[in-house]
């Protein structure tokens, strides 16, 4: 299962490397979203206070596009069916795609954080770095897992892509809540202290645990046609 | 308690509205199912209706 996962992850990342869709399309999209938030929210103080939330919102919206992309490359040539017919372990496919997605998400989030510092005057400080990094890791894993799971369901066939946002966004609500609160604690916005953030990390951890098991089990039946 | 801001409406109006909405909604769904059932049943032989 892990060997398959590594192969699939490498494949997905290689495709991304060559086509550069994430760097050329998704990142700019995320940047535009961050700018639009500022337009909508108007005052600097409001924007500064909600900066963590905005970062994670932009991440979620970009996630939708990333997931669509991750499965579009499969369905274009019927690759998933071919892999299944060849007896490739679906759990391996799931983990591999999740891994690749996580890598792309991580890059996205770092860029968004930098943007938050630049556009929203968010301040990183040393005391919160550990919390921040751990939050990024946990949230990225969680999002990648559920994204791959529901992406597999909504992939490809006409009329199914539009389903993805409706299915995915409610599910990732706990990640949004947890990651935002933890990031607030790490950055010290809204008067939050670093120690406030760790319970939220616990929440993220539960999320990752549940969906790594649940996703691995559910992915096979879901992509079966 | 103060009215909603819609002139003339009192609490009682809203309470009634809730009850009525609930019953109308339920009855509408029930009627829809029964009608659908009748239409489909006309097109199928009895073996496809094991409950009857």
């Amino acid at each position: 299962m892990f060997r398959v996962a590594r192969l699939i992850a490498a494949k997905d990342l290689r495709i991304e490397f060559r086509s550069r869709v994430v760097t050329n399309q998704v990142l700019p999209f995320a940047m535009i979203v961050m700018v639009m938030f500022a337009f909508a929210l108007n005052t600097q103080e409001v924007v500064e206070r909600v900066a963590p939330g905005l970062v994670w919102l932009a991440t979620l919206f970009s996630l939708l596009i990333l997931v669509q992309r991750a499965f579009a490359i499969e369905t274009a040539d019927g690759a998933t069916e071919a892999m299944r017919a060849a007896g490739v372990d679906p759990a391996g496919i799931f983990l591999g795609k999740a891994l690749a997605l996580a890598a792309q998400l991580a890059v996205l989030e770092i860029v968004l954080l930098v943007l938050a510092v630049v556009l929203y005057s968010a301040k990183l400080h040393v005391g919160g770095v550990v919390l921040l990094v751990t939050t990024l890791l946990a949230a990225t894993c969680g999002l990648a897992l559920v994204g791959t799971l529901y992406g597999g369901l909504a992939a490809g066939v006409r009329g199914r892509e539009t389903l993805l946002p409706l299915l995915l966004l409610p599910v990732v609500a706990p990640v949004l809540i947890g990651a935002t609160r933890a990031t607030e604690a790490a950055l010290g916005t809204s008067g939050a202290v670093v120690s406030d953030g760790w319970p939220w990390l616990g929440l993220l951890g539960v999320f990752v645990a549940l969906f790594s098991v649940g996703g691995t089990l559910a992915f096979g039946p879901l992509i079966e046609e | 308690m103060a009215a909603l801001g819609i002139v003339g409406m009192e609490d009682v109006g809203f309470i009634l509205a809730t009850y009525i909405a609930t019953f109308v909604g339920s009855i509408a769904l029930a009627v829809y199912y029964l009608r659908r059932g009748r239409r489909l049943a006309a097109q199928l032989p009895p073996d496809d209706k094991p409950w009857a």
Binding site: L153, L167, L203 | F14, T22, A30, L44
Partner: protein, 267 residues
Amino acid sequence: MTDMQLTAGQPANANATAESFSKPTAKTSATGTPFTRILGIATVVSMALLVLFGLFLSPEDVVQGESVRILYIHVGTVWVAYVAFGVTALSSLAFLWKRTTSLTWDRIAGASAEVGVLFMALTLFAGAIWGRLAWGKFWVWDARVTTTAFLFITYIGYLAVRGLGGSHQQRGRRSAVVALLAVLEIPLVHFSVKLWRGLHQDSSVADTTKVKLHDLMLFSLFISLIAFTLLFVWLVMHRQRVLAMQDALEDKGLDYALEQRRSEGGL
């Protein structure tokens, strides 16, 4: 799925056509059986009792006045909404269980979800009205309300997944997995929101509306629970049967169309 009208025709072999099936008479409703008839009557009676006690015989609340009457609807619908969710989840599990891939379980899951959506919507509606009358706000960001809203959206997503097409088995498998994932996801959402709102003191708004329940009020609540449960069972039974017929018609429709093509081509 649209009903496929079997047209009049003379297929090569002796499969019965639409014309040979008797139209249901007043006595034999298509999806009705003696049991559902009794169930239906019981439902109507208990609903009448609910209106009687809820709107007239039960007293108004000391604190909330008349607006407490909405509770008799609201509690009933939210109870059923969550029961429906449970039924969908359990039926989905039953469907996926190795030995019981009977499509009936899949149809029960689907029927329950559909009915559940109705009751969710009613719950949110009645809840919003009650909130406005009792606290002045249509909405409050606490765990119960938010989770109910999430459950509503999740159901709608589930129904959308059911409508994706494909064979009945595929539909069953796909939606069963989605339903079971929802069982994971909904408590998690609830917990997250609870944790979140726990930080804010105004989460106690929902708690300060403790209703002191006099006997008649408690009784009215019981009637509500019973009435709505009966209604739920009645609706799900009928819906499940309609779904069964839809599936059968879909299967027959394909066979029938194939027959037509075959008889045309003289194969």
